[in-house]
């Protein structure tokens, strides 16, 4: 490639980036997103350009916020992580369980019929209102396949009006025209892509790569903030570098890597699809090498924190990047298609508060501070070994509760796939998951 061609492409990307920033600013002026939320440690501030949630202490917050002595600061200043946040940062709304794809590892067990008692637009708008009142910054909309819902754009618009930024995950397998028409409503759209070509079929159980790829190309023409979600399994692990190359070729904004979870149909397929212990140990170096080689931004899901900690990265750096393990029922919550509140999308409905029933997402404000809210998801501070003595425990929080519940039968147990847990179990000759 000639120098002139390279410079031309660089200039084109620069212009495109500037245009995207301008669109983001324009949209933020139309419907300003929530800009700040007070916390016991100080506050969380939202930036639109660059897009970030910034956690600051009280002294910093006093300098930038129009507050004097808010009630939430009446007690002593705590450290970030000492207690659950005053509300989630984001809510993961599983708007429907309808989906025709039939993926063998689907974490919700989605079907063409969907789930009984699914909510409609009016109920989800009330949920958005409750989340806005609680101070939530973002919602991640998904399913099932939420693009089957004719009112998806209306709900996204309502979220914007209430100061919440809606984001979306889609399979890209259907309803592309409908999605293209409303793509501007969303902060970020990621298409699920678990492999290229034949690998896609091997992981998902059907050949949908060409359709997903077509959707990615069409969405990318319409919008800059398009990425891919990759559920990492033992079948596509060796293809991660090629997936990053694909993302670079399609000029996508990010690759988000998700650990396979034993949830929905994924529980039955878990033994076959989950990564091996060796792959978990190789995960971080492999991912960072691919991100560097192809110059693509990489995000990982909360359940990968034990695999990051295994390489003993700078603990302070992880904290500054807000890299946490299980933050279900704290930084994030989920809601099932019928509105049932969950600690995360993979978990079952949250336990009932004393004297109450299992909560709906429209009851978040009342439930959030109830004794025993979110059960095992908030008990990570009572860790047992080898988590209790781990330097990274306050960040990792014991790994994925859903994996522990499925594999060990105890949601409070240390994540059995954490390399440190595997090694500890080997020392005392306990059978482990490899």
């Amino acid at each position: 490639m000639s120098v002139v061609t390279s410079l031309g492409r660089l200039a084109a990307r620069g212009v495109e980036g500037a245009l995207a920033v301008a669109v983001r600013v324009w949209r933020a002026r139309q419907h300003p997103p929530r800009r700040a939320r007070l916390e016991r440690f100080g506050a969380i501030l939202q930036l639109t350009v660059p897009r970030a949630l910034v956690f600051v202490d009280r002294a910093f917050a006093r300098r930038v916020l129009a507050v004097d002595r808010p009630a939430i600061w009446a007690g002593p200043e705590t450290a970030l992580g000492d207690a659950p946040l005053s509300a989630p940062l984001e809510a993961h709304l599983q708007l429907t369980n309808r989906c025709d794809a039939g993926c063998q590892g689907c974490y919700t067990g989605a079907s063409p019929e969907g789930a009984p008692g699914e909510w409609g637009l009016a109920e989800w708008m009330r949920a958005i209102d409750q989340l806005a009142d609680a101070g939530v910054f973002h919602v991640a909309l998904g399913g099932g396949e939420s693009t089957v819902l004719p009112w998806l754009g209306e709900l996204a618009e309502h979220a914007r009006r209430r100061g919440i930024v809606p984001n979306l995950t889609t399979s890209g397998l259907s309803n592309l025209d409908r999605l293209l028409a409303i793509s501007g409503q969303f902060g970020q759209i990621n298409v699920s892509l678990d492999g290229l070509g034949a690998t896609y079929a091997r992981v998902r159980g059907f050949d949908g790569f060409a359709r997903a790829d077509a959707a990615i190309r069409a969405l990318r023409r319409a919008k800059r903030e398009i990425g891919i979600n990759v559920v990492v399994t033992r079948h596509n692990f060796d293809e991660l570098d090629r997936l990053f190359a694909y993302a670079a070729q399609r000029r996508l904004s990010e690759v988000e890597l998700l650990r396979f979870k034993p949830s929905g149909r994924g529980a039955r397929a878990y033994a076959e699809l989950r990564c091996s212990d060796a792959q978990h140990r190789a995960f971080l170096p492999a991912v960072l090498a691919a991100a560097r080689r192809h110059a693509v931004r990489v995000k990982v899901d909360c359940s990968y924190t034990p695999m990051l900690a295994h390489h003993r990265p700078d603990r302070a750096l992880l904290a500054e990047l807000a890299v946490y393990g299980c933050t279900g029922g704290d930084f994030l919550i989920g809601a099932k298609p019928g509105g049932q509140l969950t600690a995360c999308s993979f978990a079952g409905p949250a336990p009932a508060a004393p004297g109450g029933e299992r909560p709906r997402v429209t009851e978040l404000l009342r439930y959030w501070a109830a004794p025993g809210a979110f059960g095992a998801f908030r008990s990570w501070r009572d860790a047992r070994e080898p988590c209790a003595s781990c330097d990274y425990h306050s960040l990792c929080r014991g790994g994925c509760r859903v994996v522990s519940a499925h594999t060990v039968g105890d949601a409070t147990a240390p994540d059995p796939e954490c390399p440190r847990v595997v090694d500890a179990a080997a020392r005392i000759h306990v059978p482990v998951v490899r």
Binding site: L45, P50, V56, L89, E256, D301, D314
Partner: protein, 58 residues
């Protein structure tokens, strides 16, 4: 009163409706680059001083 400090920055937005996605790209470049970026973020925030907070939060 001190100037205060930034405790953490969560970059980007998470579209994934099943887990909290965190940007680990900074692990490639290390703490030095983040240490250089953080003051810029601080300056951006201070530039927009008197950010309103919802009445319910006060």
């Amino acid at each position: 009163m001190g100037r205060g400090k930034i405790l953490a920055i969560k970059w980007g937005m998470n579209p994934n409706s099943s887990s909290l996605g965190v940007d680990v790209t900074f692990l490639l470049v290390g703490a030095t680059v983040l240490a250089a970026v953080t003051p810029v973020i601080g300056a951006l925030l201070r530039w927009r001083r008197a950010i309103p907070v919802d009445q319910a939060d006060r």
